[in-house]
């Protein structure tokens, strides 16, 4: 038994709900690191994060980083040193097929890919045009973007944030990954959302937003009355066992776990079924859109709002596959070929739902305390792959943030004239998470956990808070 956990605390921790609340290492709990009071290090600007992950890698050159030079050099060889690419099928300079325009009072430049976001949300966005990654491959890139390390085994950002802040709703998990339709886990697998070496309660729960069983094994196999009778029988047997085994917090926790599980059986479907949402709201998001992928993504966006309303700390959304030009279910934005058609379809899928999410959050006063992050694992090359695709480019790409204490209607950093490499104010994945943690009131250097003889951080041994992004 862990001497650091009092019986009272044990019960407090055990009696809580749906979340994968764990009694980590109870039999042999790590003495250092495991138990720290969840509390922010300083005054937070945001409480929750919605992570709109554009798996596969969105082209910055076709979305938020206009490069007129590419049109002038169209079809010419790249006039700069080219790094090793993932496919080594490098073609010539490939201008964006999408027109850019200035939007909102801020005049933010957004391409025709995202008309709704441009029209309704330009002044809410904080575009970072100088994002970089260390990795130019999906699985390692996804791991790096989610955990700060390019391989499995480390806690996801959502897990770190829950570890740092604790849960705000004892009946829901603090870290939820939403999927719908054919959306699946990006390359690298469920470890992207794992707790790594952190206690298991911090791992993500994957909720299938449109399945009859949104969480595995949620559906009872017997009628409710019968199950209730079984649970009563079990409880009786457990009471006997507790008497025989002596009082043991682990056993008590396991008993209470059944009550949580029982409640979850009805609570989760209710949440997912979007009960209580008006027709206006459904229309705003596009829940009933004829395009099935868009409707499915809209469902995730609306559910994301419902989750942050209920205090879920970190919600990650998953794009669906449009099956164009190299895009597959785990990496739908990955247009190694047919970029124009593929990106158009992918953008159509997410544009209205995301614009609706930002609008809705704002209307409900939630945007101030909710940090929305839009990013893929890397950008794409300014030169073509083959004739009409783009290869991976981790040397400079765009992401955006909104709400949650960041400046609105601004652009930070820049790539070079070709849009190939960062030219000004580079931002690393470490810097991004350092900044996100800061906005949540956490000092990234002090959010640590001892594992394998070393104090680990989400930002490894790197990362600077980018203060220019903070409002």
């Amino acid at each position: 038994m862990n001497p650091l956990l009092t019986r009272r605390e044990m019960l407090r921790r055990c009696s809580t709900g749906f979340g994968y609340l764990a009694l980590s290492g109870l039999l042999a709990a790590p003495v250092r690191g495991a138990v720290r009071p969840p509390a922010p290090h300083f005054r937070p600007r945001a409480k929750n994060v919605i992570f709109l992950y554009m798996s596969g890698g969105v082209s910055h050159l076709d979305s938020f980083d206009p490069k007129p030079l590419l049109a002038r050099l169209a079809g010419q060889p790249m006039p700069a040193k080219v790094e090793r690419t993932q496919f080594n099928k490098n073609g010539t300079v490939f201008p964006s097929p999408f027109a850019f325009g200035r939007h909102g009072a801020s005049g933010l430049e957004i391409s025709a890919l995202f008309p709704q976001i441009a029209r309704h949300c330009a002044d809410d966005l904080c575009v970072v045009r100088s994002m970089t990654s260390k990795v130019s491959e999906h699985a390692q890139g996804n791991y790096f973007f989610h955990t700060g390390f390019p391989n499995m085994g480390f806690p996801s950002a959502g897990a770190w944030i829950n570890y740092g802040l604790g849960t705000a709703n004892r009946d829901l998990p603090g870290f939820v990954v939403l999927q719908s339709g054919d959306a699946t886990t990006p390359h690298g697998g469920p470890g992207l959302f794992g707790n790594g070496f952190l206690p298991a309660q911090h791992q993500a729960s994957i909720i299938s937003a449109d399945r009859s069983e949104p969480v595995p094994n949620l559906t009872p196999r017997t009628a409710d009355a019968r199950q209730r009778a079984s649970l009563d029988f079990i409880r009786g047997a457990d009471s006997d066992f507790t008497l025989r085994a002596g009082p043991d917090p682990q056993i008590e926790a396991a008993i209470r776990n059944y009550e949580t599980a029982y409640r979850m059986q009805s609570a989760v479907p209710e949440l997912v079924q979007l009960t209580g949402e008006t027709e206006t709201v459904r229309k705003l998001y596009g829940i009933d859109d004829p395009h099935p992928q868009k409707a499915a993504y809209a469902r995730q966006c609306l559910l994301a709002r419902r989750l942050v309303e209920r205090g879920v700390r970190f919600v990650e959304l998953s794009c669906l596959n449009e099956k164009i030009g190299g895009g597959n279910a785990p990496n739908p934005w990955d247009q190694h070929g047919d970029l124009e058609r593929g990106h158009r379809a992918m953008a159509h899928q997410v544009d209205q739902p995301i614009a609706a999410l930002l609008t809705d959050l704002k209307a409900r006063g939630l945007l101030d305390e909710t940090l929305v992050i839009w990013a893929g694992e890397f950008g794409r090359t300014p030169f073509s792959q083959g004739t009409n695709g783009r290869d991976h480019n981790p040397y400079g790409f765009s992401i955006w943030l909104a709400g949650g204490g960041v400046k609105a209607g601004m652009v930070y950093g820049a790539t070079d004239e070709l849009g190939y490499r960062v030219a000004d104010k580079p931002v690393s994945v470490y810097d991004l998470w350092a900044t996100v943690l800061h906005l949540l009131g956490l000092d990234h250097e002090n959010l640590t956990y001892l594992s394998g003889g070393r104090n680990y951080r989400l930002t490894d041994v790197h990362g600077e808070v980018i203060r220019d992004l903070i409002a």
Binding site: A22, N151, M152, T222
Partner: protein, 1051 residues
């Protein structure tokens, strides 16, 4: 031992002035400071608290006045005041927010005591001014740091200790009881028989007890009966299955490599089976550790005559259980990372050390340097990933091969004779070709075909013109003679081939021109007649072949040219920085050409990287291997590097040489057909006599494929006895057994990477063991794996025995004497019973490193058999139960829960104890369930089966709703409940409901049901309306029993 303030305060109270100058210090003060204080300040504090440095909290500790002035929160030291000096409070960790050194382990008690004595003496400090860079460098010099850190307990020799005096008969109890008595606690009594038997069965075998009669649980259990039960369980095959799974945790076992694609690790399961056999056979632990590093290189490997295996070689597979990224553009980074994965596993699993933490810099806390890491890096990276052959030498093998070759020789003579007749018939056949030949001629559009002249004739060319393409080509040979290449290997020459690693009976020697293969089945006799080169299949296409080049650094942009033939899914590839997968910029070619052909692969992309070239049979690639491919072959005769853009090698078309020579100045078609026949006769004669040239061999091969030489058994009935004899023998040749492993590459020391950056290689560090134990460089020509294997278990290495004894203790008692089984360094926990740990380590070594003996010793102690009810005061005074006054209640591991469900429901299949891993719905023990890194079994994962990324010596035990939901609602669990209920319903001995209930409780909990329980269970199944059971009621009861806490907890 901490000193009490009272001891010193009065004596030194007057000294508080604290202005002692250097001159005023006594030699004893100076010596004390220099030896005990300065090294600690320099090594543990200066990083953050140095003048001109970070000066965290405004504090510098690098000279006297700064120390006394202190930082933002006041003076660091108040001379003489050991209670209020902030520095002491910080290192004693008196405040949560002021615990120093930050992010590090607490200083040793002895060091803290030194600081207290120092402050009590008035903090005499000879440092008048901040130190120079040079002074700091000396103070933080690695030898100085190492000397201090080597004093850590786990690096001290294992002491010879005797159990203390005591009443207990068992030596382990004497150690434990002494401490229990010291704490004025009493020990819990022995657990009741049923509890003990269930605990014993699960702990030793991972399964509930087999006894079925409730009466078995009620009686007394004498020590003799208990010991007999222990022996029976140790002898059960289930023991190895249980403990192999523990071992698999220590070495992050997985069946796949992870990342995008998550490819299988071919034959990983053979390593799991090896562990099960080894643990069941109680192979000495030190032997197993050596096998894990160098089982393929032991002078006397352990052979398994029954299975025909070299067991030792299977141990190496653990080195291949690494994660592999997908298609990394930086291949060297991936190499360093997966080598780090190997080092991390070996150092944690067998030494309890975190050597990986010294990859980028010297270890922050332990006596492990970056040079140690680099020395090991050199050892591991002097190998390459492979599938290795793990067959025991077959004593009959060489005789069988000799017989095969003799028969083959006889067949060669007989074929040559028979084909002379075909030579006679050749002019007529070529002059008026039958339908099949006409088709072949029509297809011979390329001059690379021997029939090409007849193709040209048929197109209307003159006979002289029909030979022109060959003549022109041959004229070209002269121009290309003397062309040099950046790199060229002629693998038809033993001198060049000897520089390559060759593994397999065929490729062991260069095959002469004209060597041929026989078809092991089907309607052909000869498979092919080959030019000289390295071939995998002179005896059989069952044989494995692996041909690996030395390493090449690509100094500029090259193309790679390979002249190969092969079939059945064999591979030709280059390997960048040992990366064994394929994908995007890692092309791999499957060879599918019966005749030799040049293949080109561009190496431009990999300029600057190190590569090697690899040819293998289909089942012999480290990752791409197809384990189901039983027959394949390849041949390779030449490998070239050409500067990118330069023309490729000149194709000499050797088959054309004998034809051109024989056809001379052919003027008529008859000249050509006669010339062909003459060439054939000459080539046959040369072939028969074993002096064939490449040209002869390729000509014969072409004519054979064109159907101009008879090659069907029915066409050559006279050869049938020889062919049958050969085929019969060939059928008895063993298919090689492959397992993951590594091959030795030309050994090289690794460079020290500046700050761990692999793009900044520095000086090379000799391959060797850890300098804290022995810094002597290895005097070896190989990688050094065998030397490292021996060092891991050498007698003066105090870690190996302590670590394994502690692991066994952890799995038996639920918590190790050292609670951090993978970390015996400063960031790990201290042993609760250091003397006992050393006594056990010695005992274990003396008992030939026998894990079974150790298990027997420990479970026969009183301590292990105690009841889980805490004795009076134990919960308050020893809440952690570190003194083991009673048994700790434990939740069963994921595998034991799943296996328990299967066993209790009667569905568990224990017959099959080997083979490829299976899906979670197969009713075999969980140790056989596939561990796919990106798709871990959800049931096992919910109950804390580890994520296989790094060693896990101690699993988490969590309590998450997914567990309750799985037991309540998973179809798999429900199905087992239904099967169990159906099985009992079909058994007449349980026709009586009460008997059935009793049987269910006995099976589920290994104890008799109480009367109360029987009553409640009967009420649960009974329908109050009719008084009889609903059809599903018994399944509901079974399902409910699965969901009781008693089912998943062990007390």
């Amino acid at each position: 031992m901490p000193l009490r303030p009272a001891t010193f305060l009065p004596a030194f109270a007057f000294f508080v002035a604290g202005t002692a100058t250097h001159a005023a210090l006594s030699p004893a003060d100076v010596e004390f400071f220099e030896q005990r204080i300065r090294p600690v300040l320099a090594q543990d504090c200066y990083e953050c608290h140095r003048t001109g440095g970070k000066m965290k909290a405004g504090l510098a500790l690098d000279h006297r006045s700064a120390l006394l002035k202190g930082g933002d929160t006041g003076p660091a030291v108040i001379p003489g005041d050991i209670r209020n000096s902030l520095l002491l409070q910080a290192i004693r960790h008196e405040h949560d927010d002021l615990a120093m050194p930050k992010a590090g382990a607490k200083l040793d008690d002895a060091v803290i005591a030194d600081f207290e004595r120092w402050v009590a003496r008035g903090a005499p400090d000879p440092r008048d001014a901040p130190p120079t860079e040079a002074q700091v460098a000396t103070d933080k010099d690695w030898p100085a740091v190492l000397a201090r850190r080597k004093a850590w307990w786990s690096f001290q020799p294992i002491r010879q200790v005797s159990p203390p005096a005591g009443a207990a008969a068992h030596p382990v109890d004497r150690f434990l009881d002494a401490r229990i008595a010291e704490a004025a606690l009493s020990a819990a009594p022995r657990a009741e028989a049923a509890v003990l038997l269930r605990r014993l069965s699960f702990t030793l075998t991972g399964l509930p007890p087999e006894a079925t009669a409730p009466a078995d649980y009620s009686g007394e259990l004498s020590p003799a009966a208990f010991a007999a039960r222990v022996d029976a369980l140790l002898a059960s095959p289930r023991f190895g299955e249980r403990w192999a799974r523990h071992w698999m945790d220590w070495v992050r076992y997985a069946d796949s490599h992870g990342s995008e694609g998550d490819p299988a690790i071919p034959n990983a399961w053979r390593y799991r089976d090896y562990l099960i056999r080894a643990l069941n056979a109680d192979v000495p632990y030190d032997q197993l550790v050596m096998e894990h590093l160098a089982g393929d290189r032991l002078p006397q490997p352990r052979l398994n005559p029954v299975l025909g295996l070299n067991e030792s070689a299977l141990g190496v597979a653990n080195l291949r259980l690494v994660l592999h990224g997908f298609a990394p553009t930086d291949a060297l980074e991936e190499l360093v990372r997966f080598t780090d994965d190997q080092i991390n596993t070996v150092s944690k699993a067998f030494l309890g050390l975190t050597l990986s933490c010294a990859r980028c810099h010297d270890h922050k806390f332990d006596p492990l340097s970056q040079r140690d890491f680099t020395a090991w890096h050199g050892i591991f990276s002097s190998t390459a990933p492979a599938q290795i052959a793990v067959d025991a030498p077959d004593p009959g093998d060489s005789a069988l091969r000799a017989a095969l070759r003799e028969t083959k020789g006889q067949l060669r003579s007989a074929l040559a004779e028979a084909w002379l007749a075909d030579a006679e018939a050749l002019p007529a056949r070529l002059a008026s070709p039958d339908a099949a030949l006409t088709k072949s001629i029509a297809a011979a559009k390329s001059a690379e075909s021997a029939l090409h002249p007849f193709h040209l004739l048929a197109q209307g060319a003159a006979p002289a013109a029909a030979l022109a393409p060959w003549r022109n080509q041959f004229d070209g040979i002269a121009r290309h003679r003397g062309r040099t290449f950046p790199q060229r290997w002629d693998l038809s020459q033993a001198s060049d081939a000897s520089a390559w690693l060759r593994d397999g009976p065929g490729v062991a020697a260069v095959s002469a021109a004209g060597d041929f293969s026989l078809a092991a089945e089907g309607d052909r006799i000869v498979g092919g007649i080959h030019p000289a080169g390295l071939y995998s299949h002179p005896d059989s296409t069952k044989d494995r072949g692996l041909v690996v080049s030395p390493r090449l650094r690509l100094g500029e942009k090259y193309d790679l040219w390979l002249r190969v033939s092969g079939a059945g899914g064999s591979y030709a590839r280059y390997v960048v920085q040992n990366y064994p997968r394929q994908g995007t910029v890692y092309p791999v070619q499957k060879i599918d050409d019966l005749s030799p052909r040049w293949i080109k692969q561009s190496l431009e992309y990999w300029e600057g990287d190190q590569i090697h070239i690899e040819f293998s049979t289909a089942a012999d690639q480290p990752v791409l291997a197809n384990p189901a491919a039983t027959r394949s072959w390849f041949g390779v005769s030449e490998v070239l590097l050409v500067r990118a853009g330069d023309p490729g090698p000149f194709e000499a078309w050797p088959f054309a040489a004998p034809l051109l020579a024989a056809c001379g100045d052919a003027q008529t078609p008859a000249d050509l057909t006669q010339g062909f026949a003459a060439a054939l006769r000459l080539s046959l004669a040369a072939w028969k006599e074993g002096r064939a040239t490449d040209g002869d061999a390729e000509l014969l091969d072409q004519l054979l494929r064109a159907g101009l030489l008879r090659n069907q058994p029915a066409q050559l009935p006279g050869l049938a006895p020889l062919l049958v004899a050969w085929r019969t023998r060939e059928a008895t040749l063993r298919i090689p057994t492959r397992a993951p492993g590594v091959i030795e590459m030309p050994a090289a020391d690794a460079p020290l990477f500046a700050r761990g950056d692999h793009r900044q290689p520095g000086e090379r560090v000799p391959r060797r063991f850890l300098e804290a134990i022995d810094a002597t460089p290895y005097n070896v020509t190989d990688s050094g794996r065998l030397a490292l294997a021996r060092d891991l278990v050498r007698r003066d290495n105090p870690l190996a025995a302590r670590v394994i004894v502690n692991r066994v203790w952890h799995h038996l008692f639920g918590r190790g004497l050292v609670a951090t089984p993978d970390n015996f360094g400063r960031m790990g926990e201290l042993p609760s019973h250091p003397e006992l740990l050393d006594w056990l380590a010695n005992w274990f070594i003396e008992h030939r490193w026998s894990i079974k003996a150790l298990v027997r010793l420990l479970v026969t102690s009183d301590a292990w058999q105690r009841s889980s009810t805490p004795p009076a005061d134990a919960t308050r005074r020893d809440p952690d139960n570190r003194l083991l006054s009673h048994a700790s209640v434990r939740r069963l591991e994921a595998e034991a829960i799943r296996d328990g469900l299967l066993a209790v429901s009667g569905e568990l299949d224990t017959d099959q104890m080997s083979g490829p891993s299976v899906a979670g719905n197969v009713p075999r023990r969980s140790v056989y369930v596939r561990v796919k890194r990106n798709d871990l079994d959800p049931f096992l994962a919910a109950f804390d089966a580890p994520v296989p990324a790094a060693p896990v010596g101690r699993r988490d035990v969590t309590n998450v709703p997914a567990q309750s939901l799985a037991l309540l609602n998973a179809p798999f669990v429900r199905q087992l409940a239904e099967r169990w209920a159906a099985r009992l319903a079909g058994d007449p001995s349980y026709a009586d409901p009460e008997a059935r209930v009793r049987a269910m409780y006995a099976a589920a909990f290994a104890r008799a049901a109480t009367r109360d329980e029987v009553g409640r269970a009967l009420a649960f199944v009974g329908d109050p309306a009719t008084g009889s059971a609903r059809p599903a009621a018994w399944a509901d009861l079974a399902h409910a029993l699965f969901n009781t806490k008693e089912f998943i907890f062990l007390r």
